[in-house]
């Protein structure tokens, strides 16, 4: 790992400072570049979604943040420090990376008790987190007998042991039923609402649209868009307009540099103008309007457009 300023910062984090900072993270496995010059920040008090198709480099990035994978170049810092330099890792970051991260013949409770011992956490905390993730009744069963959802919750219980200020989760909704997903969403939202930071990866757009405040969209290991969820979809909305004088309106719109797509002889799809602007232009051009509708672009459309642009 190259040494940069990030690694030398030893001061405790100030309030409002980013919880996680990645700078120019790159990871190559042989000829494959899994993560390519990726920089981002995760802010406290917000849920940051890490979105990308399967194989985009999300897991590798999270593992670099958590010190499990050494970057080929670039740095990742948690509260200003590399993960391995944190004085109290479990009390700083809780992470759930895999659905299977326990010995299948060890009970859920004993799995957690191994981790409390390793982190010097009071064993009483085990009962608290078991209750928090609703796993107390199954705590004395061997973890190998757990359903996928229970395994995810055991992972989350382990992540919460140190009462951390930051949660990092890799595809946590995998294997959860709709109620489980709802529970997780509410949990993460309330976690962030208390001023804590959440970085959660997913390849599912619908999930991210409901959960995240900010998004980091990656594709082929590279960042293709970052920002608040709302900003990702704003400006991408289209207006559908129907008029018997479609040609006239099209000419008027095109003359102002507005993108127009012909749907059929009497309908147009307009991008880059509001419904009010389109209505006014139609009136000025003497084109009677029979229909004028704003079609909101879903996060999914925005995401597909972004990844398509990247492919080109």
């Amino acid at each position: 790992m190259t040494t940069t300023m990030l690694e030398q910062v030893g001061e405790p984090a100030v309030v409002g400072a980013p919880a996680i900072v990645a700078r120019h993270l790159t990871k190559r496995f042989g000829d494959l570049t899994a993560v390519d010059d990726l920089s981002f920040e995760v802010q406290p008090g917000r849920v940051t979604g890490f979105l990308g198709p399967n194989g985009a480099g999300k897991s590798t990035t999270l593992r670099m943040v958590l010190g499990l994978v050494t970057p080929t170049s670039g740095t990742a810092a948690v509260l200003g420090l590399p993960y391995a330099s944190l004085a109290d890792p479990a009390g700083t970051v809780g992470a759930v990376l895999e659905t299977q991260s326990f010995h299948p013949l060890r009970t859920g409770r004993n799995h957690l008790r191994v981790l409390t011992a390793a982190s010097g956490i009071d064993d009483g905390r085990v009962e608290q987190v078991l209750a928090q993730v609703d796993l107390a009744a199954a705590a004395d069963r061997k973890a190998g007998t757990y359903s996928l959802g229970m395994r995810q919750r055991l992972g989350l219980a382990a992540a919460l042991l140190g009462d951390p200020g930051i949660l990092v989760l890799d595809e946590p909704a995998n294997g959860l039923d709709p109620q489980g997903i709802r529970w997780l969403r509410d949990f993460l939202r309330s976690f962030a609402a208390r001023g804590r930071a959440v970085l959660v990866s997913s390849h599912l757009l619908a999930e991210m649209a409901q959960l995240a405040d900010d998004l980091i969209v990656i594709h082929h290991g590279r960042s293709i868009r970052q920002g608040p969820v709302a900003a990702l979809t704003t400006g991408a909305d289209t207006v559908r307009v129907a008029t018997p004088r479609a040609d006239t309106l099209m000419t008027a719109l095109s003359a102002r540099g507005i993108t127009v797509e012909v749907i059929d002889g009497t309908s147009l799809r307009v991008q880059g103008a509001t419904a009010e602007q389109v209505g006014q232009l139609a009136f000025d051009a003497g084109a009677p309007v029979f229909e004028l509708t704003t079609e909101a672009t879903s996060l999914e459309d925005a995401f597909l457009d972004l990844t398509k642009e990247e492919e080109r």
């Binding site: 496995f29 897991s59 590798t60 593992r63 958590l66 010190g67 499990l68 994978v69 050494t70 993960y83 391995a84 944190l86 890792p89 479990a90 970051v93 992470a95 990376l97 895999e98 299977q100 991260s101 326990f102 010995h103 299948p104 013949l105 060890r106 009970t107 004993n110 799995h111 008790r113 191994v114 981790l115 011992a117 390793a118 982190s119 010097g120 382990a158």
Partner: protein, 245 residues
């Protein structure tokens, strides 16, 4: 470090792996004690306790079982994915390996004491039942036990290193067994001048082997300690660089 060692002991106690290995080893020794006593003639039954063949079995199985315990202390974690929460809780990997080293070293003492208790107790009881009495020779037995338990602890340390280098559990265990049971015997025939410095030969030198074939006990102890240190150092270096992907 205290926390990590405590975590390792909890790990050892909370699955059946290590207790299962202990029971398996004691069963082997028990059967050997019974078999060797039953097959012994009057002259053999009259020997002092340390002279009974059951201790050759203890000599063979105790270090081998501890090698497996050492290997599994780390390969189990890779196999089941628990290495991730382990390293998230303790990102300093050498410290994690050191804690495993200390815990399996202590486990070797437990295995060793249990092995000698079963071997000596059962043999003494069987021989006494057969011929009425047995000479124990406590000091000889104690020295032999202390040496062999030391060897077993060093084998466990080698196991931790090997497991860190070869994280695939079956490959690491099979490789370890082939080395101990086959490779060094072959080396004996092919290059005896070199073979006597290898780990199994060094171990045999410590517990008392034939002069000529083996080095002096003191040198053997230094050699085996050196092998254990080397295995651990290489394992720690491999672990430090390994991507947990």
């Amino acid at each position: 470090m205290k926390n990590l060692v405590k975590a390792e002991f909890r790990r050892i106690r909370t699955t059946r792996t290590v207790p299962g290995l202990l029971v398996g080893m004691l069963a082997l020794i028990g059967v050997a004690a019974w078999g060797t006593t039953a097959a012994a003639d009057a002259a053999a039954l009259g020997r002092p306790l340390i002279g009974h063949e059951v201790f050759l079995v203890v000599l063979a199985v105790l270090p081998l079982f501890m090698l497996i315990v050492g290997i599994r202390s780390i390969t189990d974690e890779f196999r089941h994915g628990s290495i991730v929460p382990t390293l998230l809780a303790a990102p300093r990997r050498r410290a994690v390996l050191t804690a495993k080293l200390l815990s399996v070293g202590a486990t070797a003492i437990v295995f060793g004491l249990a092995a000698f208790t079963v071997a000596a107790g059962l043999t003494a009881a069987l021989v006494t039942a057969e011929v009425g009495a047995i000479t124990v020779g406590w000091s000889q037995l104690g020295v032999f036990a202390a040496k062999l338990i030391g060897v077993a602890a060093l084998y466990a340390a080698i196991g931790v290193g090997v497991g860190a280098i070869i994280r695939h559990q079956v490959a690491a265990i099979v490789g370890g067994l082939i080395w101990v049971l086959v490779a060094e015997n072959l080396a004996d025939g092919l290059m005896p001048a070199v073979a006597k410095y290898l780990p199994v030969h060094a171990a045999n030198a410590i517990v008392g082997g034939m002069p000529g074939v083996y080095v002096d006990a003191g040198i053997g102890a230094a050699l085996l300690l050196g092998w254990a240190t080397l295995a651990f150092a290489v394992g720690a270096q491999v672990m430090r660089r390994r991507d947990i992907a």
